[in-house]
């Protein structure tokens, strides 16, 4: 057993434990005096379960895991298709399976499975031998589950698949014409998405992001209250469980999407600095793992994982500050939620396994 714990990377573990501590405090404060008073406890259980899974993966040879990437990917696609048919509909979106009273969101895990499979495919050969066709194939592997998820609909989740494609510039580098082509694609794709793919409520979110004051009582209300919470926190914050925006319920959905606003209000800029610093260390350590990985596939996986974590960080932390559109993307270790928490820990478990193998050999 001691051997198993030794498999955990010390630096990554401390950062992780610190982030979990901040997240738990935040959820305790956010749930206080509301029907969700016990949410910090529930989330702690998810965290414990997640850490147990992390320990399990960290002590497993990463190569064994990569071996299962293709069947996992297929299984994931089946699950995404199935959720559209038998999933539970909440608030107009069909995203959840209900298993033993718990809702489970297959797309959370599918994100990591897709990353696993794509890095496995692209990493199994030398970068210079990977042709254009294979690259397009990899893009297809990412885009297909995204489209299934957009059917639910869940644009935020679908977009969180995009960092997987960071593997391509990592392999091939960036050329000017690629960047131009990408920008063009985003331009054309954005227009196409606006016209065809986006649902009206998603368009509305974009409109409100462009002009938040246009809808202070509706969607804009949430971001407006969140900005007030963050701004009024000041340098040192209003104190633990003393944030007026949080405790008086002006702040909406404060245990999930807007959990970081709770932290920012009650702990102020210094608290934000601490949390963002920890996230920086997390990303940095994950990228370290990519540098020391024994196989290219492992390196790709770590780089993609860093991209996914970074996107969650950017979109959630930027969104609650009103700097990005109001997009439902959770913040790891802060936002309450079972599926996302377990998925993050599973990914970190694999990364720790990669670090462990690099260390012992």
């Amino acid at each position: 057993m001691k051997e198993r714990f030794r498999a955990l990377d010390q630096r990554l573990l401390w950062v992780l434990l610190a982030l979990i501590a901040l997240g738990t405090l935040t959820l305790y404060s956010a749930g206080r005096n509301t029907p969700q008073a016990g949410i910090w406890l529930k989330q702690s259980l998810w965290n414990l379960l997640g850490m147990a899974l992390m320990l399990l993966l960290a002590t497993t040879d990463p190569r064994r895991i990569f071996r299962y990437s293709f069947p996992s990917y297929l299984l994931g696609l089946v699950a995404l298709a199935a959720v559209l048919v038998v999933g539970k509909k909440i608030g107009g979106a069909t995203r959840w399976f209900v298993i033993a009273g718990q809702t489970f969101q297959p797309s959370e895990l599918m994100k990591w499975v897709t990353l696993l499979y794509v890095s496995h495919r692209l990493g199994s050969r030398h970068a210079s031998t990977v042709g254009r066709l294979e690259l397009f194939g990899a893009v297809g592997l990412v885009v297909f589950p995204m489209l299934l998820i957009q059917r639910q609909p869940d644009l935020g989740m679908a977009l969180s698949f995009l960092p997987i494609l960071l593997i391509i510039p990592l392999m091939k580098g960036l050329r000017t014409r690629w960047v131009v082509a990408l920008l063009l694609l985003i331009g054309v794709g954005g227009f196409g998405a606006w016209k065809v793919v986006l649902k009206p409520y998603q368009k509305q979110r974009v409109m409100i992001f462009l002009d938040p004051s246009s809808d202070l009582q509706g969607k804009g209300y949430q971001v407006n209250q969140s900005r007030i919470a963050i701004g009024s926190g000041g340098l040192i914050g209003k104190g633990f469980t003393s944030g007026s925006q949080t405790q008086l319920n002006f702040l909406p959905v404060k245990t999930t999407d807007f959990a970081f606003s709770v932290w920012a209000e009650e702990r102020g800029f210094l608290g934000v600095l601490l949390a963002l610093g920890l996230f920086g260390l997390l990303l940095s350590r994950i990228l370290d793992a990519a540098r020391v990985a024994h196989t290219t596939a492992e390196a790709y996986f770590c780089a993609g994982a860093a991209g996914i974590f970074a996107l969650h960080l950017l979109v959630n932390v930027g969104m609650v500050a009103g700097a990005l559109p109001n997009k439902g993307m959770v913040l790891p270790f802060f936002s309450a939620g079972g599926s996302s928490t377990l998925s993050f820990f599973l990914a970190l478990g694999l990364i720790m396994g990669i670090l462990h193998r690099a260390r012992v050999k």
Partner: protein, 630 residues
Amino acid sequence: MDPRHQPTLRRRLTVFKSLAWGLVALLVLVYAWLQLVRFGEFRQLALQQAVKVRPIPAPRGLVLDRNGHRLVDNRRALHLVIQREDLPTRPEVVAALAEALAVDPLALTRKIQSYRLAGKGRPLVLKENLDEAGIALAERVRARFPFLSVEVAPRRVYLGDELAGHVLGYVGEVDEELMKAKPGVFRLGETIGKEGFEASGNEKLKGVDGQKRILVDQLGTEVANFGQADAVAGRSLYLTLDAGLQKVAQDALGEEAGAVVVLDLRDGGVLAMYSSPSYDPNLFLNRLSQDMVDRYLANSVTRPMVNRAIQGIYAPGSTFKLLVALAALEKGVATPQTVIYCAGKKNFYGRDFRCDKPTGHGGLNMVQAIAQSCDVYFYELASRLDVDDIYATAEKYGLTERTGIDLPQEKRTRIPSRAWKKKAVPKDPKWYAGETISVGIGQGAVGVTPMGLARFYALLATKGKLLTPHLFYGYRDDLGNDLEPAPPPPARDTPLDPKHWLVLDEGLHEVVQSGTASTNPFVREIAREIPFSGKTGTAQVATFVDKAHYARQAKKLKDHALFAGYAPREHPQIAFAVVVENAGFGSTAAAPIAAKVVKYWCVDRLSNPLPAPRGKLVDPFTPPQPETPE
């Protein structure tokens, strides 16, 4: 294949790492902007929505009659409410609740929805002002729906119901138009007097609202109190009204439409003022039902909302003859001894003017003419006068002005003159001499309010003192429970010649003793015991009610009956005016009501001092209890 031996990959990963730290730095900048640079602005916004200043409404003062009977009381009202956080959301719960409360489920759903959107701070009121049956129902329903609660709120109670509806008026929430008209005076939702003395005495009754600084949550619920300035309760006050006399007036008028006004001759205090049909102010505290709108507000047949005592304009009929006599005496066109022969009618300007008595009164002097109410005599006096002479006399004795009573929307008495006709009838501005003849007997364009008429007879009773009728008697000393009398509004002396007065007084006395009013046995009986003075009047026109209605009813439009006077004859204490609409002769319909007033004031009041008006007043034989602090 080992990435450790791929320098390009390692280089790119270094770039990725810098990008990651760049991202963190970017987010730090965003938060520094919000939390450091714009901190003050956001702190202000957070305070603004969490810290509110809420008013604490001051309890309104009570209203007592001159003897200390409560006319208006403050009581606790119970409302069945749902707190905002307990609003039911599931349609089946709403439907079950609607069934339990016996209301339309659709209406309840709409109510909950609109409250969810708009109402803040106060709970949703499902049923207001629960009576005993309502409380029992509420308890039963609450057993099934525990999220309901019963809220206690102060409520105004008008104890006599319809007894003094027009005098007291009622209270309600200040409306938006008034708030716009007088910005800064009222706060939203403030309770103010809407009608009657509640309106005119609002400043006296309302007290000073307090306020508290509280912390509220997103739903507007009070979370903490940072301190408050307590409300100062409005002072209780006495009205000049005598509840017993008011009750006599109410009973005497009964179902008839009309008005009774009784004035205190010492200071002009209004002892009784009843307008029939009256209304119950208690009904106006709740939201108006359609039934109430039909019965009161939109009722153009009997117009219960009009205070006939100060807003009803009636032709004074023969009660006006006293003014004409006075004008003739002062102009010198007649003396008390002037005898005019009445043959039942007389021709003026080519037209026959009839007397009430077709066979004629024969030769009459002025006292006899007043006593018999001979029309021909006063046609003759009017023919010797100009209409402007009559107007000047009316002006001199205050009949052309508002009485100045402390109630809102008093109407002005209408006394015609040449100038008046030019303004009022621009199509035919010329005054015809024949019109003066009609004015001589209080017909034509003459119109008075019962209050104005009572004031004129008070002037006759006091030998020329022009009183200002008023209702405010004084504040209550809240420690001793005693009256702190307020100085009565000023009275004006008029140059009424005592010689002229003697004639009028004699005439009014004879009306009751041997003249028109003595034909009624009840009046005769009372007058034998308490000699009093007065004048009958029978007004031919009835413009006040909806004529079309009566036409539809195929009913003959009867004359208005009037009686005005004072009592007792020696050292008079009260002056009064009685109008009974469409009731026929003043002597048979109005004079007996006046006699009841006189009997109560001079006899019953003293022998059996305090009859309780209509049951709801506190026991009149025990002095008013000191209030228990709420």
